[in-house]
């Protein structure tokens, strides 16, 4: 991230609990409205189930729940961001997804070190654009946490 040449990075911006988060656009496949989610029994609490995404069964993760935030009711503005990472196709439920912005790579700073907040574990960095603070989430840590393989399997 310390390249001398100034280059821009395109981000999808979404909201959780009135805070703004961002994912690089190249990791996002599409943004969908929330449709019927089929619950999958005996999985992690944050896995809300699966949806039919144009013929592909796609698991849905509630990002609020993943970050151990208070869960919210589905509203008109609730969206599912379908991400594709390392052949894993997963949807994230977010409060709102309404912005695509370009920011200079060098404006991204390493995440602040806060102990004891779950959310902080899944952050790649923060970017300050004027008065806005964007939190860049780390898909790898969200999707492939070590404890998932232990907890997710029963029987």
């Amino acid at each position: 991230m310390s390249e001398a040449v100034a280059s821009d990075i395109k981000l999808i911006v979404f909201q959780l609990m009135n805070k703004e988060y961002a994912i690089p656009v190249n990791q996002v496949q599409s943004i969908e409205k929330v449709e019927h989610i089929t619950r999958v029994p005996k999985t992690e609490k944050f896995i809300k189930g699966v949806i039919n995404l144009r013929g592909v069964i796609t698991p849905i993760i509630d990002l609020r729940s993943r970050f151990e935030l208070e869960e919210a009711e589905v509203t008109e503005s609730t969206r599912v961001i379908i991400v594709n990472f390392n052949d894993l196709e997963v949807g994230f439920i977010v409060d709102l997804a309404n912005d695509v912005i370009d920011i200079p790579v060098e404006s991204i700073e390493p995440p602040p070190e806060v102990v004891g907040v779950t959310e902080a574990e899944y952050i790649n960095g923060v970017a300050k654009i004027g008065k806005r603070l964007l939190i860049l989430i780390d898909l790898e840590k969200i999707l492939i946490p070590e404890q998932l393989s232990n907890l997710g399997i029963e029987g």
């Binding site: 619950r39 894993l88 997710g152």
Partner: protein, 692 residues
């Protein structure tokens, strides 16, 4: 004809080459085993020779020198056998088998993207020793002559020039006949250059090639349609020449005409002023066909008789079939949706149209699924070799009998079933069949029999491996299982025989007193069991001490589209595969009994445990149902049964099985999902996981 590949782009032929090579090698393997049984049968040697010869031609064309070298040497030995120069014996067979092994390894390496190179000098040397009657130097010299002869026509122009005419004249004076041979390759012939190479090889043996039209260069580069004309001088009769060329596969038609020099001279005079190669070519072809008319019917007949054995097929990449199936699956989902809409709207015309569409797609489904069906032969055919080798290693005498090799299974299943079968056959050979001495002592024939049987039954395919060996000793298995802590003493006492036998499929089990290299590493059989179960199948064992055992594998016909019973629990829908269901029943609440912490029902005289799916799947409750009856789906896994309680049955439906993806793996008691007519996802219940 030079053996170089030139600039030809071989990649497009590579797949065909690999497929054909594998087929020819398989043919070699099968025929060699035949030959072992009937060592005097020259027809079999001929068959092997032909396969080896084709393989040589193909590999030389493709530029795989080692492959060509080894097949060439193998061919020489086979040639010597069929000409009675050397006597066939088992030792020779072993070396030829060794050579085939090497060839297989090379083809495999090519298939894996390697260069197909391998040190074959050892086997080649052995083959040379066998061939002994004919010195290697001789063979080498022959090859050079062949090359020299082949290169000569390259200098030739399209017409017969003065030099050629002189040659023809001279040959004729020496009693050689001049033939103009028109060869037509089959339209679907893919390795044209290879066929040309093979035809030239034959011609060079029976005479001298004077001219080719198009030129040898062009032929080599496949710069021709399906037909080409070669002029040769030979002492053979035209009939014999035709027959020999027809031996090359993918040759459609061969016309052999005697041409008189007078005719040729005339030609020359007519055309000598300005002849373009094309024009000449044209006239010549016309000429041959005119001259040809009388002999044609006969030729046709000959062609027909050689062709009848091959059925008309095309090769299709399995990926394309997968895409086709995927598209069809989309259609099945839409069909389900349409059916639902038509039910809701209750419009007669719509109803009829949807009905007709359902029938058509039903037929389409059968055809597409059938296209993916492959005979189990493709897996079975490697076993005779394996059994032969193993029997030798183990010093046992074993006959392998294969029944129902034509039984068809889905390609996906075929790809997976090979390894489990290898394990089971090894197991039968090693632990099942006794040594000849033991068998004799027990009053059996010295030769043990292993039967590999495949057959269809309903929506399943069964594969059985039966041996007439020692059988499984219940006591031995039990004591072993107890010592390994696989079962408890109490459990052991109440187990049925087949339950005991199934213990040998548990991990960490090996019944052989000593561990042998063949099987008995104790890791094999539990892998067999899990592979078969992952395919949606099951395995059971029957055995009689002293008389033998039967391992029976049950497999689903296809994996992608299955029939399910759709059920509802609160607001959720679950699909239960019909293959696991025995029947559905409505049971009074008061008929449910309690037996040590387990609720059971009496189902046709059997005590069947009852499982409440809403509890197992922690289904959220929206409304309390007050009903004095339960809807129960009776499912089974092998001999064991269970009753799954649901709220209501929706009905039977064909659905497309989809995986939950890479993220959700190992979800308890869920084997996959499917998309229903309304676009929603329903989970498919894995009954095997529910029945312990």
């Amino acid at each position: 004809m030079p053996r170089g590949v030139g600039q030809m782009d071989m990649n497009q032929y590579l797949e065909v080459f690999i497929e054909e090579s594998k087929e020819h090698l398989q043919a070699c393997n099968e025929q060699l085993l035949e030959l072992e049984k009937n060592p005097e049968d020259i027809a079999i040697v001929n068959e092997i020779f032909r396969s080896a010869h084709t393989l040589k031609g193909m590999s030389a064309t493709m530029g795989y020198e080692d492959l060509a070298k080894l097949t060439h040497q193998m061919e020489n030995v086979l040639d010597a056998i069929r000409n009675g120069k050397i006597k066939f014996n088992p030792e020779i067979l072993d070396v030829v088998f060794l050579a085939v092994d090497d060839l297989e390894a090379m083809v495999q390496s090519i298939a894996d993207g390697g260069d197909g190179k391998r040190d074959v000098s050892n086997v080649v040397a052995k083959l040379l020793l066998i061939e002994n009657g004919e010195s290697p130097a001789n063979a080498e010299a022959k090859k050079e002559v062949a090359v020299a002869i082949a290169e000569k026509p390259q200098a030739a122009k399209s017409e017969y020039d003065e030099f050629e005419l002189t040659v023809l004249q001279q040959s004729r004076d020496q009693g050689f006949e001049t033939y103009e041979i028109t060869v037509a390759l089959r339209d679907d012939c893919l390795l044209k250059a290879a066929r040309v190479f093979m035809i030239f090889e034959i011609l060079e043996k029976i005479g001298e090639v004077i001219k080719a039209n198009p030129s040898v260069d062009q032929l080599e580069e496949e710069n021709f349609d399906q037909e080409f004309t070669i002029t040769i001088v030979s002492k053979e009769s035209n009939h014999d020449i035709q027959k020999k060329i027809m031996k090359v596969s993918e040759v459609d038609r061969v016309d052999v005409n005697i041409i008189s020099l007078e005719n040729l001279r005339q030609y020359e005079e007519q055309e000598v002023t300005d002849v373009t190669p094309e024009k000449n070519n044209h006239v010549e072809i016309e000429n041959t066909s005119n001259e040809d008319q009388e002999s044609k019917p006969e030729d046709k007949k000959a062609a027909n008789t050689t062709k009848h054995s091959s059925s008309k097929t095309i090769r299709v990449n399995i990926e394309r079939l997968d895409i086709l199936l995927n598209l069809f699956e989309e259609l099945v989902i839409d069909r389900g949706r349409l059916e639902q809409i038509s039910r809701d709207l209750n419009n007669q015309e719509l109803h009829e149209t949807v009905e007709r569409m359902s029938r058509t797609t039903g037929d389409l489904q059968n055809i597409i699924l059938n296209m993916r069906m492959v005979p189990v032969e493709t897996v079975f055919n490697r076993f005779p070799r394996m059994v032969r080798q193993l029997a030798r290693d183990l010093n046992k005498k074993i006959d392998l009998e294969i029944i129902g090799a034509e039984t068809e299974l889905d390609r996906t299943v075929i790809d997976e079933i090979g390894d489990p079968l290898v394990h089971l056959i090894r197991n039968a050979l090693d632990h099942g069949v006794e040594t000849p001495e033991e068998r004799k002592a027990n009053g059996k024939s010295e030769v043990g029999t292993v039967v590999l049987k495949a057959y269809h039954s309903g929506n399943h395919v069964f594969i059985e491996i039966e041996d007439d060996g020692a059988g499984i000793s219940r006591d031995k298995v039990l004591s072993k299982a107890l010592s390994k802590g696989i079962v408890t003493e109490q459990a052991a006492a109440s187990m049925t025989d087949s339950q005991v036998y199934e213990l040998i499929l548990a991990s960490g089990f090996s019944t052989a007193d000593k561990i042998s290299a063949v099987s008995g590493r104790g890791v094999g059989l539990d892998v067999v069991k899990s592979t078969i179960e992952s395919l949606g199948g099951s395995i059971s064992i029957e055995s009689k001490l002293g008389q033998g055992s039967v391992f029976s594998i049950q497999l689903p016909l296809t994996l992608s589209i299955i029939s399910v019973m759709l059920t509802e629990i609160q607001q959720e829908k679950f699909a239960i595969p019909l293959s696991s269901i025995i029947e559905t029943a409505i049971v009074k609440k008061t008929d449910i009994l309690n037996a040590h912490n387990q609720q059971v029902i009496d189902f046709r005289g059997k005590v069947v445990p009852v499982l409440f799916l809403n509890e197992i799947f922690e289904v959220p409750v929206f409304e309390e149902l007050e009903d004095e009856f339960y809807s129960v789906v009776i499912v089974r896994k092998g001999d064991k049964m269970a009753g799954l309680v649901v709220d209501s049955f929706i009905g039977q439906q064909e659905v497309v099985l989809k995986s939950l993806g890479n993220y959700l793996t190992n979800v308890f008691a869920i084997s996959g999902a499917t998309i229903l007519g309304d676009g929603q996802v329903a989970l498919i219940v894995d009954c095997n996981a529910l029945i312990k």
